[in-house]
Amino acid sequence: MDVKSMDRRYFLKITGIAGILAARQAPAFAQGSTLHWVRWVDFIPESDLELKRQMPEAEKALGAKIQFETINANDLQPRITAAVQSGSGADIFNFQYNWPHLYQNAVIDVSEVASALSKAEGGFYEVWAPSCQVNGKWLSVPHSIVGNAVAYRKSWLKEAGASHYPKTWDEARKLFAGLKKKGKPYGQTLGHTFGDAPTFTYPMTWAFGAAETDKSGKKVVLQSKGAVEAVKFMQGFWKECCDEGGLAWDDTNNNRAFHAGEISATLNGASIYIVAKRQKDKIKDEKGEPLFQDIDHAPLPAGPAGGYLLFLNQSHAVMRYSKNPKLAKDFLTWLHKPENYGKWFASQEGYSVGSTHKWENDPMWGKLDEPLKMFRTAARNTRLFGYAGPSTAKATEAFTKYIITDMYAKGVQGMSAEDAVKWAEGELKKVYEA
């Protein structure tokens, strides 16, 4: 058929417009099927690179354009709030801890994806249901858990007479008091930062037998002998053992201080070790040897009431305003396919563990250095803030206001332990009992 003989029907057919008119809908690409995904800036930069590398593959598989963006973790909540209130923004946000409770009316039900993932991988860790399920619905898809442990300098502890990392806080106090006198203090932040501060201060509170609320989550029970003892202990530990600059640290300061040989130990994810190993030519100890060889990990010591941990669990939520909810869910399914997730998981080298037990058996663990292997089962034992009650939106409010962290910060700055606890109790009551 030549141009002259081309009729209207033929023209529509070859340009595909007939189909569009018939469907009364633009094809997927023309609908603007772009998916915007926002995650934190990973402490393991190679993992962000891996995700960027995977995006063209995801685009090909899903037939959509995917915009992957990373932002500072402390900016995630402001960004989510702005997006929800304006009704526009990223389709998928990286949630932390129990945020699905806080944003429950701003996200969609992703039970379909989460349940399928759980079923395929033999079940999630216990921490996930109270974190991401609201009224029996999964409001975000569990992704991974950043375990934490105390990274310490083996040789310095040995010099101070410790054959192993202290099992109790009392032992730790004795050990690090000696190290601080030698200019090798313990490093800990008590600043307003999302990770290293609360993952230290909440377990410290639990280790002394104190809790924010009772089991109902409606009655504040912080005012207790345990809480006062915890703050008193921290006052002494801070003065005798810690780098007192920690009051102004964010989540990166302890990494830098450790790599610079300024501190002997600090609570952190595995990133201190992993980065030190990957940059072994740059990050060296005082003898000029690669620093990573002198690093090991241990769990936080136990207090009179035992030893507890608070890990950073990360999930992904699809926002209610998203114009592509199905695509977003399909993308999360694609992301968790073992062949895709596995590559990201391997790049983490133990910094994050999976959301299900399955990843404990990944061959990657066999290839890792000994100091990283303790993270393999880390996710089995983690509590959530809000304890002993459920981890609700109110628990997140108390967490975001840094009430527990500030209780210790006030204590180490001179406020009596009793007054610091009283202050925190008062603030918690305004949150939980209002």
């Binding site: 709030t81 209130q85 009051l247 409010e397 206001k401 910060a409 305004k430």
Partner: protein, 320 residues
Amino acid sequence: MKKPIAGGTNGAVVVALPHPGTRRARGLTRFLESERLLASLLLAPTVVLLGTFIAYPFVSGVWLSLSDTSVGNVGHFVGLKNFAKAWDDSIFQQAFRNTFFYTFWATIFKLALGMWLALLLNRSFRGKRLVRASMLLPFIIPTVLSTFAWRWMFDPTFSVLNWLLFRTGFIVNKIPFLSDGVYGMWCAIVVNTWRGMPFFAITLLAGLQTINPDLHEAASLDGANGWQRFWHVTWPLLKPVTLVVVVFSIIQTFSDFQLIYVLTGGGPANATHLLATYAYQVGVATGLLGEGAAISLFMLPVLFVVVWVQLRYLRRLEGA
């Protein structure tokens, strides 16, 4: 006999018929000649802009403060509950006190140092223009960038200032610039002063240059010394400009956000929280939009009083 009409041709009457577009042109002319209509037309863009970017957010903020709106949830009217809750909140009380302290001292320092700098720059010396231009640098650099630089200088572990003071033998132990509440607040005041002083200096310099040198000459001839010339000649003439610049500075400093957010995040233990940073933490980070709006609206009456006093004083000066 009929006289030919001026403009006529051969005695014939020529009537000027209206041009087809003339009626419309006359209507437009009448419209433009009407001061009321023209004024409305010219003001319309400004009204739309002010309405969209100032009035609407303000009214919206007031509504939020009277509601229990939280992120993703529709709010219900709760009256003054959010204000009462904030007033009873010890972190709010601390932020409120901090805001006054920070604004007071930062404004005093900016005024004193800005005046001093303006008086120096008002003199003639080689490279005067270059110095004047470079003086504006702290004001030109985006606040976030310059505050990051200060934050690194005050870093608890790697502070170059501590290193310098230690090396020169001035200190034995590190100064806890940002890790102590009191030091942290003074560090914030120093950074605010560093950043805001050029604004004072350049504005006061402009004011100084409007003062007739003959007045100083006359005062000198009468035996007035430098201080007397400043106090009796310069200061009275500079007062209106000073007042305006002080009020602008108070408004900006009282509602400061970026500097504290980057430098300390409100810590340690809320020691440097200002109303703006605390409102942000409660409203945006925690998602309690109603409570956050109420906290930020506490700034309104204070700033309203400041502006009212300024306008009243300026009117009195004009009348004098």
